[in-house]
């Protein structure tokens, strides 16, 4: 029998089959939908990660006081390029800080293009009679605009001549106070008035201001003491070498050794890479779980095929009597199993795509899951081929059994 005829018969067989076939298909549908939803979620995460990664720039290095002997990942705060370390694990009498001498040491490294000095603190801010507590970052306004990964939504960045002006986070501007804060509005920070010149395109309530002004508004920060340095290096390819140089220079400047080191040097790229690795292993784990349901679906197909062969024994006998060869019967049943897999796969993909649309909502505010789920062509092709393969594999033994039936016995079967 010709191949397309075998396929037609398999198709008709599936079409005329009962509820049982549909239940079997449902098993595959659930498996494929789960795999698709999880893979697309993973790809969404990956893509937002890549976007963040490139947005951050691979040429930014952050130096902060304190040092953790751990892997580093767990002491970080997801504050983007300027996010620093949280004091580290050491608790000594003297507070560990970065000082002017450290800055001088950094300036002596020729591979560094720009250095931004930061201080941070929590400040009281009021606007039109309402007051709140938000975090404030003092930045070197001469270089900040060239180093920061923040994007300006309206207004402008800080620049060299600025003094009593601030750039504020998107949420602070839009919804933190009863009324939105617009460009050129005055806000009061710790009793002093500042003019808003720019609004950042993000969802933070952060305030950025020139560092000299920040020393005045943040209570316990003394001039010449820094919370972190953010440096931009000249050649991104030399990131690792430059990090090593910075570390050795600073160790000399701070009179510490590798053993009692009290500062950290990190690049956003390293951080993101660690995060991406953790994510992809989490993802693989989820896919493995979803794959289990696909396997259960495959067992369902095998079960249905065995029953179907039993049910169709007489028809197999008839077909053999009128000239069907063993491979004809084998192919018809194999195609039938593959077809069940295919239909299950197609419906599963549709369901999985719909499901993955809800995924971000289901995951809530998990910081890992910022991106939307992306159903890629790859995952569709993969899911389809897997479901067909699963169907065919599950159908091999029953189909072989069917093809080996003796015509006399099969004809006698009632």
């Amino acid at each position: 029998m010709k191949l397309e005829k075998c396929f037609m018969h398999a198709f008709n067989m599936a079409l005329h089959s009962k509820l049982r076939s549909w239940l079997t298909i449902l098993g595959i549908v659930i498996g494929v939908a789960a795999v698709i939803a999880i893979i697309s979620m993973g790809e969404g995460m990956q893509q937002s990660m890549t976007a963040q990664l490139s947005g951050l720039g691979g040429d930014i290095v952050t130096i902060s006081p304190g040092f953790s002997r751990g892997t580093g990942m767990f002491v970080m705060r997801g504050g983007g390029g300027e996010g620093g370390f949280s004091g580290g694990a050491q608790a000594t009498d003297k507070e560990i800080v970065l000082s002017r001498s450290d800055l001088q040491a950094l300036k002596g490294i020729p591979d560094i293009a720009l250095i931004d000095t930061n201080i941070r603190g929590s400040v009281e801010v009021s606007y039109r009679g309402k007051t709140g507590k938000v975090s404030l970052t003092g930045v070197d306004q001469r270089v900040w605009s060239q180093i920061t990964t923040n994007k300006i939504k309206s207004g402008r960045m800080l620049d060299s001549a600025d003094q009593n002006v601030v750039v504020i986070g998107g949420r602070l501007a839009s919804s933190y106070f009863d009324q939105p804060i617009g460009i050129n509005k005055m806000i009061t920070i710790e009793g002093s008035a500042f003019r808003v010149v720019g609004i950042v395109d993000d969802q933070s309530t952060n305030i950025y201001m020139p560092i000299q002004m920040a020393y005045q508004v943040i209570e316990d920060k003394k001039n010449g003491i820094y919370d972190s340095f953010v440096v931009k290096i000249k050649n991104e390819d030399q990131l690792d070498e430059v990090i090593a140089k910075i570390e050795s220079k600073l160790m000399v400047a701070r009179h510490v050794t590798q053993k009692d080191r009290d500062f950290s040097v990190s690049s956003s790229r390293q951080f993101q890479q660690t995060r991406a690795e953790a994510l992809s292993s989490l993802n693989a784990f989820l896919v493995a779980i979803a794959a289990v349901s696909l396997i259960v679906g495959a067992v369902g197909i095998a079960n249905t095929m065995f029953t179907s062969v039993l049910e169709k024994t007489k028809e197999i006998g008839i077909m053999k009597a009128i000239g069907a060869r063993n491979p004809d019967i084998l192919l018809i049943f194999l195609f039938n199993a593959g077809f069940i897999g295919l239909v299950g796969g197609v419906i599963g993909i549709i369901l999985g795509t719909i499901l993955s649309g809800f995924m971000p909502a289901l995951m809530g505010n998990l910081p890992l899951m910022r991106g939307t789920a992306i159903v890629s062509l790859n995952s569709i092709i993969m899911a389809l081929s897997v479901s067909i393969t699963v169907g065919v594999l599950a159908g091999i033994i029953p189909a072989y059994q069917a093809s080996k039936l003796k015509p006399v016995d099969a004809l006698r079967y009632e």
Partner: protein, 230 residues
Amino acid sequence: MKMHDVWKIYRMGEVEVPALRGVSVEIKKGDFVAIIGASGSGKSTMMNLIGCLDVPSRGSVYLKSQDISKLDESDLASLRGKTIGFIFQQYNLIPSMSAFENVVLPLEFLEYDDREAANRAREILISVGLGDKMHHRPAQLSGGQQQRVSIARSLAGDPEIILADEPTGALDSVAGIEVLNMLHRLWKEQGKTIIMVTHNLNLAKYAHTTIELKDGQITRISENDEVNKK
């Protein structure tokens, strides 16, 4: 078609039950043969062997001078498809297929061209008087009509031999006679070899040669030249 000292032994657990015990017979091309015998006489076994549905335990069956026990299953299937048309007592049509599809099916196994197969199936169904019921399912047809579909199916591949197993067994007498007349015409007008297995002695009078079986052995072979005159 020839059988030489054919034995067929079935195993029922420890016990061996011989269904055929040294049967030798030759059926000539173009003959109308009735194999008659009571149930358990071995006539079904004999039909299975003639129809290449089974191979003998001992002895040889020659179909078109090929020893069927030397052929593999696929070759047997092809030989069946090309040489033999089956008509069963229970019609054995595929219930999910229309009359037309049932008749086309053997042609698909023979890898006929689609259009040729469709034309042939239509022609044959018209010739058995089912031109208006081609797209009915078996369940929508009467017993006699179903048997005619089954005859049409047996003729589709233009086989030399038509093998009919109790073709009238499930039919009332009118429909039964109709089927027998049809077989008779196939024999007379198209020169087919007809082999009919039955327990009904009355049917034997339609046949030219009658082979009587008892306890797995041939007890009598008789020829009836009267039928030629019908």
